[in-house]
């Protein structure tokens, strides 16, 4: 009986002893926030959710060539991550715009517009970039008598950099029942996708384009429209305008 008591006592002692030591590193709690801006219009640069503009953090206080940490920006080009370890970071953004870090054909860095921060509590960053293409609405979407919708847009160059004066390969009118509308999320029944040949893709720059939904009448529900366009550069990502909705009469 006594033996059992002693055994139990020791077991308890050991159990408590094991609990006493706290050697966990505190959870990350610092914040990196900010946005990517079109340097001409001053507006945040539209992108797509989950696969568009992403933020790269390189923790350089420990290693000169660290494994990068990435997170994606929100659709409107703003970004916010509130679970980052406080440290020294080299921060840049990657997306459908002239890269912040430009290398020559053998990999030598020519320009580097990334920002180095010492993160403590919170850092707010502002990246001014030159989008490959700038897509702007002309007027508002028009609901046609057959319940299709026609929009008008103009696609212009967002940069004077000669390397990126490439033909437009695609201009797509995306239709979705949420505002998170883009190449990775659209309704294929109504969206209108157009690919351009090299010559047509050069000529289309600056034209006011009229795009109409396909597939007949749109359903009488919330529908959002957005136009994306791209050139064959970088990771072939799309530039977008802001999503808009229309009100049924």
């Amino acid at each position: 009986m006594k033996k059992i008591f002693y055994l139990g006592f020791f077991a308890l002692l050991i159990a408590f002893a094991a609990c006493s030591k706290v050697d966990n590193y505190a959870a990350p709690g610092d914040t990196v926030t900010g946005a990517t801006y079109d340097e001409v219009t001053g507006q945040t640069l539209q992108t797509e959710v989950g696969s568009g503009t992403r933020v790269e953090l390189l923790e350089i206080s420990y290693d000169s060539a660290p494994v990068p940490f990435y997170f994606y920006s929100m659709q409107d080009g703003t970004f916010n991550d509130d679970k980052v370890f406080g440290a020294t970071y080299k921060v840049s953004v990657q997306g459908p715009f002239v890269p912040l870090i430009v290398t020559d054909s053998t990999g030598v860095v020519i320009t580097d517009s990334s920002q180095t921060i010492v993160l403590k509590n919170k850092a707010t960053l502002k990246f001014n970039v030159q989008p490959f293409l700038r897509i702007q609405w002309v007027g508002t979407p028009v609901l046609n008598p057959d319940t299709t919708v026609t929009v008008r847009v103009v696609v212009t160059r967002g940069t004077n950099n000669a390397t990126y004066q490439l033909p437009v390969t695609d201009i797509n009118l995306y239709v979705s029942n949420t505002q998170y509308d883009g190449n990775n999320n659209y309704d294929p029944r109504y969206s209108s996708l157009t690919s351009y040949s090299d010559s047509a893709g050069m000529a289309v720059i600056g034209d006011t384009l009229t795009l109409t939904t396909t597939g007949g009448a749109l359903p009488a529900q919330d529908v959002y429209f957005r136009v994306g366009a791209r050139i064959n550069a970088g990771l072939d990502e799309y530039n977008y305008n802001t999503p808009v909705s229309i009100t049924y009469p």
Partner: protein
Amino acid sequence: MKKLIIIVLFAAGLLAALASCRKLNIPPKNIIQDADIFTSSNGIQSYMARIYSELPIEDFRYTPARGLNFFWIISATPCTTGEAIGRDQTNSMQENFSGWSWDIWGGSYTVIRDCDYFIQTLPTYASNFTATQVQAWIAEAYFVRGMTYFGLVKRFGGVPIVNKVLNYVPGTTTDSLEVPRASEKACWDQVDSDFTYAMNNLPAVNADYSDGSRANKYVAAAFESRAMLYAGSTAKYNTITLYDAADNQLCGIPAADAAGYFQKALNAANVLNGMYSLYLTSWSATDPNAQYNNFVNLFSDAASKENVFVREYNYPNSVHGYDAYNVPRQLIGPNGYSAETNPTLNFVEMFGGLPRNADGTLQTLDASGHYLLYDSTMDLFANAEPRLRGTVILPGDMFKNESIEIRRGIYTGPSGGGISPLLPAGSKAQYPTGDLVTSPTAAQTAYALPDGTLMNPAGLSGIFTGDQTCAISGFSVRKWLNPNLTVAQTLENNETQTWIEMRYAEVLLNRAEADWELYTLGQGGASAQTDAMTVINQIRSRAGATPWTSFGATPLDTIRYERRKELAFENKTYWDLKRWRIFDKEQNGTIYRILMPFWSATAGKYFFDARSDERNDVYTYNPIWYYEQLPSGAITKSTNVIQNPGY
């Protein structure tokens, strides 16, 4: 008493301690030693069996979703390339390494290490064998290593090159083991050098196995032509680049190197001239039916002189389930599946002998915009190229002595004055249900036709509206299916037909493409053009297709389409679309097209509706996938290994 016990125990302990000091140098009986393997040809055979079994070839047990050497072949490779659609694959995809049971990175480097070890160790034991044997076996290890590097570099670009066995010495740093990625060009040159070594040192016939399952000189040459064509295409068409800190180009090859690689591809392809030939055993120049049967038999005749390199299966040790997954629905095996691979209309339209509209698409309407009517679904394909029938089961064609019945439904609307299209041109909407009788599943209720006879709304192999285990595109795959397999035996892990990884037709197609690429790069001249045309016409003649007579505006496309038709459903198109860098052009918000046969109850005839995939599955290939994501484990283990762009 107590003291005595302690003394005895102490003495025993001392004794035991001393005893264990005796040096133990007896080889462990449960570990196979070099001397067990490298002293007999059986030992060498077991070593070869293992490294060959891990060759990264995309055979009956490969899908991008689940990887190499994995039995479950749903989400089949052709359903990612536009050759087909299938119920378990609904979009474009890159290879899903995290879902693979065989680790592409660790597994490949294990094979490379095994080859390095073999190359280093066998010479020590050379006295047990003839010099010819040793030379050939070492060359085989070079061949397997070249294949493995090829499997890595076509996925990742530059990878670490490890050509000797690395040994970790406990207590030292691992720095010397953390080999950085070499440039992509260096990796292709490594593949080139391994295959060239194999070509120069292997005999014309493999002395151990002469049936094409082990490498010989020509096997190495054939893969050299495939690999160098891949390298040349990458140099010419790739636009993604990545450099490391030392300016090695890990992704991409300078365009100036393209011609050199294409020339190597051409030279290697020409090594096989006269040694292999296209299979023509039951072929006849005048009989399309003989041409069709010949094309079917090509995939099952072990005596075929077209087979360059094959992977054999054996029940129950090494098996696959191709038929179980891919037979038409009406021949479904006891455990289910069937109809995973349904060729698209886009694919079928590549072939000759079909009625066409001005834009090249299949003609289904007459001049007045009404459906063309047919007594039998096969009438539409009466003049189709025989190779098409050998590749695809067309609606109504015979397979295993059954007519494969594919019908979307019965149209009960009026037919006087012609039947107008069910949907406006280009519509992606569902069919209107008013004048259609359809069936949701294979359990059908027969419909009484106007003359009183009963007819099931859908065919025995579909199409069912609520169950996709059927010919959802209107076609079913024919290539590779074993016509002699009984329904009861159509089971997973039960089939053993041979996979032909390399056949002479591909070597000819490599030659034609290399010819033409060299011509466009200003090399080779007119003789390269005519050589390409001659070679393509050999393929076309065997296929029963019309010959290529004038180069036309897009000759390179002619060569590429010939390749896609000939090698369809052989898991080659996936890599071709990648190396041509046109995957993202072909799959750019793409919905593939299908062909739906309907029976008109009032006309008593069939009509066909060509439309987009009823599921509205959109295929969009992301260009960053041209270089796959390195597994995160590879980067965690070695900080010298850097990730590809975009991941």
